[in-house]
Amino acid sequence: MNMQLASQINSLLAAMILLTAFALVVQRRMNALLHLFAWQGFLLAVSTAIVGYVGGAHDLYISSVLTLSLKVVLLPYILHKLIVKLRIHKEVETVVNIPTTMLMGIVLVIFSYHLTAPIRELSTLVTRSTLAVALATVMLGFLMMITRKHAVTQIIGFLAMENGLLFAATSATYGMPLVVELGVALDLLIAAFIFGMFFFHISTTFDSLDVDQMARLKEED
């Protein structure tokens, strides 16, 4: 595989990751959200493997396998189990005005392009151009956590943000040290379990996972 082809494939994968990030922001259905999240993880894993192959950083393969097992299989499975158990798998969330959210997303993409422009000039890696996309994915994860009202979708937004961070790490410096990545993966797994417990508590207290309900938690005065 020559350098140019690899960098083109990587750009295409970056574009598709950006697309899934946008799709996550606007998707209403729970199950579709999980599928999109799994796809994003898959694209990220493929992109990481390609970067590892081209850059000769072979520990990226481990990171890629980790992403594949954790974010494509395990986390979506855990979330799916949760959704079924809490009986919200048919729920359709109301999202605030989708076209406006899309426009905000576009603004975020332009913002992150400008923010990463100086780094692009400095870097010499094949993957330098995908840094803007990685930052945009993080921003879109933020946007998703802000615009959504459902606890589960907020968690998916958080995980999508983490995807963006990992992507930024591979595109800016050919990945973090392996120890850090292993630590992050473990953290995510633990976080997923803690989220699960919180979901149970929230839903038994309020009969709903709508975080607006938590406004009722304040003291009476």
Partner: protein, 314 residues
């Protein structure tokens, strides 16, 4: 043996006039197969047009010149667009005078007059159809222009011929900007030609129709011209998509053999696009009209992302 560009231009006009109904017939045929029905055949649209031409025109008492003029204008604009889009060859006499922005403006003129004609008679359906059509147009046109700009960024020109040349000589199709622009173009083409998720071309159900509502009062040769122009519009959007994203096989010089080969390639591509269109149509249900803003909003999003990814990733 070389052919004069002028003759190729004329051949393209003839192609738009006489192949467009066959393409519409092919789309109907595939749709019938997918739904397990017997199809009326490839040549049914020709028979429909001939039948309509032989009927008398019934005009409303208060129809103004706009109502009578519109069918001829819409028809003429569609034929003219056939001379701009590179269908057989990139060497066209009109390609220097009209670029893709002029093409979008041509379609806009046709739509504007159709909407006026819908309101001209003063029936409720006409007005409703016009209002809906203009709502969709106001969302589809900016998205269309953005998608086109994404392609013209790659080719550094807004001339359609130049775009086709650059993309067909391009070393790789793996450009993210072109992929996004293609996605956007598919969504816009579905909306502009009134296909299933946006409008259903096969019904006259009052609550859902958009394009049919505007032309409800037309009859005879007027209706024939408008229906024919509708078929040409479907054909034109298809060849526009082919010319901007899959131009391989198009004649890059005036050689007779390569023009003939381009004709064959075009037929194959049209057949494939027809099948793809019906797969989209069968897989989707018609959308509620208030969802169309989201549908075209995502088209705009794709087109903008295409432009952005040209700067970010290429």
């Amino acid at each position: 043996m070389t052919v004069h560009p002028f003759i190729i231009g004329l051949a393209q006009l003839a192609l738009v006039l006489f192949v467009a109904p066959a393409f519409a017939g092919w789309v109907k045929m595939v749709k019938c197969w997918f739904q397990g029905r017997t199809s009326p055949g490839l040549f049914q649209p020709y028979r429909d047009i001939v039948k309509l031409f032989s009927k008398d025109v019934t005009l409303a008492e208060n129809a103004s010149w706009i109502f009578r003029f519109t069918p001829y204008l819409v028809f003429g604009v569609s034929v003219l667009a056939g001379g701009i889009i590179p269908i057989l060859s990139t060497d066209l006499p009109l390609s220097a005078t009209a670029d893709v922005i002029a093409l979008v403006a041509l379609f806009a003129i046709a739509r504007f007059f159709t909407a006026l004609a819908g309101m001209d008679i003063g029936t409720a359906f006409g007005g409703m159809g016009s209002s809906r059509e203009m709502t969709i147009a106001s969302l589809a046109e900016p998205a269309m222009l953005m998608a086109v700009f994404a392609v013209s960024l790659v080719s550094k020109s807004t001339s359609l011929s130049q775009m086709a040349v650059v993309v067909s000589q391009g070393h790789s199709m793996l450009r993210p900007s072109l992929v996004f622009a293609l996605l956007a173009f598919i969504l816009i083409a579905l909306a502009e030609t009134g296909r299933v998720p946006v409008d259903n071309p096969a019904t006259h159900l009052e609550l859902t129709m958009i394009h049919e509502a505007m032309i409800l009062e037309y009859s005879g040769r007027h209706l024939a011209l408008i229906e024919w122009a509708g078929m040409m519009k479907l054909f034109l959007f298809t060849v526009l998509g082919i010319a901007s994203f899959f131009p391989w096989g198009i004649a890059l010089n005036d050689d007779l053999l390569s023009v003939l080969a381009a004709f064959l390639f075009m037929l194959i591509k049209l057949a494939i696009v027809g099948i793809g269109l019906i797969m989209i149509e069968t897989g989707l249900a018609k959308m509620r009209i208030f969802r169309i803003t989201e549908f075209l909003g995502s088209a705009f999003l794709f087109a903008t992302l295409g432009m952005l990814s040209y700067f970010m990733l290429e």
